[in-house]
């Protein structure tokens, strides 16, 4: 369409049709004041502050909602405009309290700024205020609605952007106010404390409780959230050397302006009093403060001694999905080139090892095929084994938006998770029967001729084997195994097959099984069968748990591959790294996390070096883990807090948090993004990369880098998919791998026209039941996972005041019918026992879990779910079966 030309403040300007007057003005650096406008929201035209005059007609127009038109003669500052604007602002001021001096909003108040610009010194109207009591019974948000100007941004943000809708306008006229349903306090409403309303509020009506008395920030640093794999852009608000708050980075396409409670309010662990500030060395049984030199000398000499005595393979290193790409790269380089072993792994073993293994064998690349933003435009979404709303909140928003746009959502999950409310269809399968229902869906799709024949013919191989195998997975048979009614399975199959862009999202509910790799391969089969891989807004999308778990895998912090998934068994690859690192390298694949613990208990592993990992909470069968770690001759733990694992260490090395270092994280959609040093290291803590370098040089290897950017240059040279990733390209946004060279723009979705491995491989998979099933002694299923307010082993979130206040202790979800049988009331303590141990935990009676199943989160050391879990391993990926084990439940 043709561009429109009009006059704006005497200038002849052109804009695209549909552009509003306000947007055109902003594009040309002409400022128009606004109160109810935000670029992320649909314009509302409510506050009337953005009025401008069309001098061709003399009409006043709200510029935020009026599209430009040819022939307009717009004046943003005409006498008529100024008079109207003054009246509007004076009316607002007449109903606004005179509390500016003591208001936390201070000089950020939009109303105050506009009043100052209009030179309003006196209000001509009689003050008429509506006084409301301040609401501050929750840990995060203080509502002082007396200061509310009813712009509605909080309401629109909550409804349009977050899809939560905790608040809306209530009452009418002068009594209008943003309110929750029935005016309950926020913590009793659907509010998720994402803080978006506070971000959008132009006045002091909404403020952050944690920022009270902290003063105004003196600096803001743009970086990436340290919690889940979404990889949201944030700003750290800093005063002196303290992080006093977090604001969303509205320009980051991952989250735009949205965040979740952890990213928004879970920052106070950074300056927490528990931070490790000096190295600790065990003397006479106690961990005592030591100098860096003493600690590093001790670690270097002990590792060398043990290597000389028992060989390099008696040492194991655990890298960290919380650390940067550069640090993960160095850790695996340290293990391989300095120590001389492939015994390097990290917690991805416990979450998506089966995804990496399964998708790599089916497609040739084990990562999310498509991007987060694309989910919004899918027409069918199948979510299975992912409680997206709690674990990947920002991705769940995309799912909800897609549903609002008309997409059909199928949820397959034993728990009645939040997304079931939005689902067209919810299938409640028996725990651990995923291959069966997936085969069942494929059976129906093939039987009814709904598969994409052309795609299967041209893009894939081995279809006949799949067809043969799924033959016996008739809906009748599948119902018997999975408990999913036949007609529902049929409907799900038809809906999925009908999608032109059908996206599958999955997470730990699929992967953390002794058949995890099989589950993933079955998902890969289903997606290929319907031609859903290699196109926009579709694909197979594993949602990864940690901020940099994708990156830690990419960097080769895995026992069988170098960076970029280049196999340690491949002689050509080994030669390449030997040349680059100037060392002879081992070609024996190393041990995985659980295997390391077993080897430690057997005395085969004598020393371990843990970086930012806390296996004493995260690994299955904790009693066994504790015994294994205690058996070690030498344990080094490098972390930000004295974690449960660090308490067992011989040497503890204090590391810095994400806020104190430069580097990159790779989020779940393969996007490499920059994190930035915002404050000086706390105490004597050092970045992981420096510690590794200093240790390496004490062991006779010169690792010499002045800055993480130099490490990334080395990564780019050795890792084809990161070949084009350099710091100067990351300044204004991330790059999605594969990005093979400096000119490459990055890859939005994978396998377009061709799979990474060439043809997509169908793999015929049979259903195998979980390793441990309920029996007479242990009659209940136990499944484990995370909750919205906490993260993983809790070392960060449990030290975050607000998060720990709103969710202070572990809860075990029990179905009310089971509870009646057990004589357990809501809130009572129960004892949960498995073959491996027992824990006491508070019962929460809820229909979220089916009868016969208990659900526990694993964040809480005092009620550690992983005391109970089964270390049975997937034979390929060596991922333990954290999602299924058998337990007994009794009144405590």
């Amino acid at each position: 369409m043709e561009e429109i030309t009009l006059s704006l403040n005497g200038l002849q300007l052109t804009g695209k049709p549909g552009t509003t007057i306000l947007e055109l003005a902003q594009q040309n650096d002409i400022s128009i004041p606004t109160l109810c406008y935000d670029p992320h929201l649909k314009p509302a035209g409510a506050c009337r502050v953005c009025l401008v005059e069309n001098e061709a007609t003399g009409v006043l127009l709200a510029s935020c909602v009026t599209p430009i038109a040819a022939g307009m003669v717009i004046n943003t500052e005409s006498p008529k405009v100024i008079e109207a604007r003054r009246t509007v602002v004076e009316l607002l001021l007449a109903s606004h309290p005179d509390a500016c001096i003591i208001c936390d909003e201070g000089s950020n108040c939009e109303l105050g700024k506009i009043a100052a610009d209009l030179e309003i010194s006196e209000v001509r109207y009689t003050p008429m205020r509506h006084y409301y009591p301040i609401e501050d019974t929750n840990p995060f948000i203080e509502r002082d609605l007396t200061k509310c100007i009813l712009c509605g941004k909080c309401i629109r943000g909550c409804q349009e952007l977050q899809e939560v809708g905790a608040i809306d306008y209530a009452y009418r006229g002068f009594d209008s106010m943003p309110a929750t349903s029935l005016e309950v306090p926020l913590e009793q409403s659907p509010c998720i404390f994402c803080g978006l309303c506070v971000t959008l509020c132009p006045t002091g009506a909404l403020s952050e409780k944690m920022r009270k008395d902290k003063g105004r920030e003196t600096r803001r640093v743009r970086t990436i959230c340290p919690y889940c794999g979404c990889g949201c852009g944030i700003y750290l608000d800093i005063r002196d050397q303290e992080v006093i708050g977090v604001s969303p980075d509205g320009d980051n396409p991952v989250n735009n302006i949205c965040l979740c409670v952890k990213g928004r309010f879970g920052y106070d662990f950074i300056n927490h009093k528990d931070r490790l500030t000096t190295p600790l060395v065990r003397r006479n049984g106690n961990l005592e403060e030591a100098s860096w030199d003493e600690a590093l000398d001790l670690v270097a000499s002990k590792l060398q001694q043990i290597r000389d005595e028992s060989g390099a393979d008696s040492i194991a290193c655990l890298s960290s999905a919380k650390s940067t790409n550069e640090e993960n790269y160095l850790m695996q380089k340290f293990a391989r080139a300095v120590v001389g072993t492939n015994n390097v792994d990290h917690c991805a073993r416990l979450c998506h090892a089966s995804t990496v293994a399964g998708l790599a064998s089916s497609y040739g690349s084990g990562a999310m095929t498509n991007s987060i933003a694309e989910i919004e435009d899918a027409d069918v979404i199948l979510v299975t084994g992912s409680n997206t709303t709690e674990n990947h909140p920002i991705i769940s928003i995309r799912v909800k938006r897609a549903v609002r746009k008309g997409a059909k959502l199928i949820v397959v999950d034993p728990r009645k998770i939040d997304l079931t409310k939005y689902a067209t269809l919810w299938l409640r399968q028996n725990l651990g029967t995923d291959v069966a229902w997936l085969n069942g869906m494929m059976h129906i799709i093939i039987e009814e001729g709904l598969w994409d024949e052309d795609y299967v013919k041209t893009r894939t191989e081995n279809f006949d084997a799949l067809k043969e195998t799924v033959k016996k997975y008739t809906p009748e048979f599948v119902e018997k195994v999975t408990g999913i009614p036949q007609d529902m399975l049929r409907e799900a199959a038809r809906i999925y097959a009908s999608g032109k862009k059908a996206s599958i999202l999955f997470a730990m509910g699929i992967t953390q099984h002794s058949t995890g790799t099989d589950n993933v391969k079955s998902i890969a089969n289903l997606a290929m069968l319907c031609g859903n891989v290699g196109i926009e807004s579709a694909g197979v999308n594993p949602l990864r748990g940690q901020n940099n778990v994708q990156g830690a895998c990419d960097m080769g912090a895995l026992p069988n591959v170098f960076p970029g998934y280049q196999a340690v068994g491949d002689q050509q690859v080994v030669s390449k790294f030997e040349t680059a690192w100037g060392k002879k390298l081992s070609t024996n694949p190393g041990l995985t996390v659980v295997e390391m613990m077993n080897a430690a208990e057997e005395g085969k592993i004598r020393a371990m070096y843990l970086m930012g990992e806390n296996p004493m909470i995260s690994d299955p069968d904790l009693k066994h883990v504790e015994a294994a770690l205690k058996k070690l001759d030498f344990l080094v733990v490098q972390d930000i807090f004295l974690t449960e694992a660090a308490e067992l260490a011989d040497v503890v090395l204090p590391a810095v948090t994400f806020a104190e270092r430069d580097g990159t994280f790779t989020n779940t959609e393969r996007k490499v993004q920059r994190i930035r040093e915002a404050i000086n290291p706390v105490g004597e803590a050092r970045p992981d990369w420096q510690i590794i370098c200093q240790l390496a040089s004490r062991m006779g290897d010169d690792m010499n880098y002045q800055h993480p950017s130099e490490i990334m240059e080395e990564i780019a040279k050795l890792t084809p998919s990161y070949g084009g990733i350099y710091y100067d390209r990351l300044e204004n946004g991330g790059l999605q791998w594969p990005c093979p060279d400096r000119e490459h723009p990055g890859t939005k979705y994978l396998h377009k026209d061709r799979f990474t491995r060439g043809l997509g491989l169908f793999q015929a998979i049979e259903y195998i039941p979980p390793a441990e099933m309920p029996d007479e002694d242990y009659p209940y299923f136990l499944s484990t996972g995370r909750v919205y307010y906490h993260f993983h082993t809790g070392s960060m979130t449990r030290r975050s005041q607000g998060l720990d206040e709103i969710y202070p202790h572990a809860l075990a979800e029990i179905n009310p019918a089971d509870a009646r049988e057990l004589g357990v009331e809501d809130g009572a303590m129960v004892k949960v026992t498995s073959r491996r141990g027992e824990v006491e935990v508070e019962a929460m009676l809820t229909e979220r879990v089916p009868q016969g199943m208990i659900f526990m989160s694993f964040h809480f050391s005092e009620a550690a779910a992983n005391v109970l879990t089964n270390p049975a391993l997937d034979p390929v990926a060596k991922i333990p079966e954290l999602k299924v084990c058998a337990v007994r439940v009794e009144k405590a």
Partner: protein, 155 residues
């Protein structure tokens, strides 16, 4: 306030009729109020779920319109005219007497759900001032002492 259990069947009937339709919230609220005499707080979530709205949106509409009530209403509605003519003729003392006798404030409902007490600006029967209307019945030229006898007739 007396809380009666909600007849889920009646609620389901209304919701099924409108499920999935857009722009029908006010109709649903009117029918629900028709069934129960008010909009019980407990049904807001059900209504929101059926119409794919947020509960806060339903609550916003309920509180916006004067026609919707969130608490049970009395069986009989007393409207005390406070128009100019009635005011001059002593409506204030009539209203005061009603408040005392019924034990409720203006706009309130008696605990036994017998009466709602409201004041209105003009009933258009100024020749009867001061006037009170109970349901469809008019009572004119009232004195406070007449009240006790009048309200006896309602149950």
């Amino acid at each position: 306030m007396q809380v009666t259990a909600i007849d889920q069947g009646k609620l389901e009937q209304v919701l099924t009729k409108y499920e999935g339709q857009e722009g029908v919230l006010i109709s649903v609220l009117q029918e629900v109020q028709g069934e129960f005499g008010y909009v019980p707080k407990e049904v807001i979530e059900n209504i929101a779920g059926a119409l794919k709205l947020f509960p806060s949106q339903v609550y916003g509409v309920v509180t916006f319109y004067a026609q919707f009530y969130l608490t049970p209403r009395g069986r009989n509605t007393i409207k005390v005219c406070e128009g100019t003519a009635c005011h001059v003729q002593g409506a204030t003392s009539v209203l005061r007497e009603l408040k005392t006798k019924l034990g409720v404030a203006e706009g309130g409902t008696t605990d036994d759900l017998k009466f709602n007490l409201e004041s209105v600006r003009c009933l258009g029967t100024c020749f009867l001032a001061p006037v009170v209307m109970i349901n469809q019945d008019y009572y004119g030229k009232l004195q406070p002492r007449d009240i006790e006898d009048i309200i006896k007739h309602y149950d």
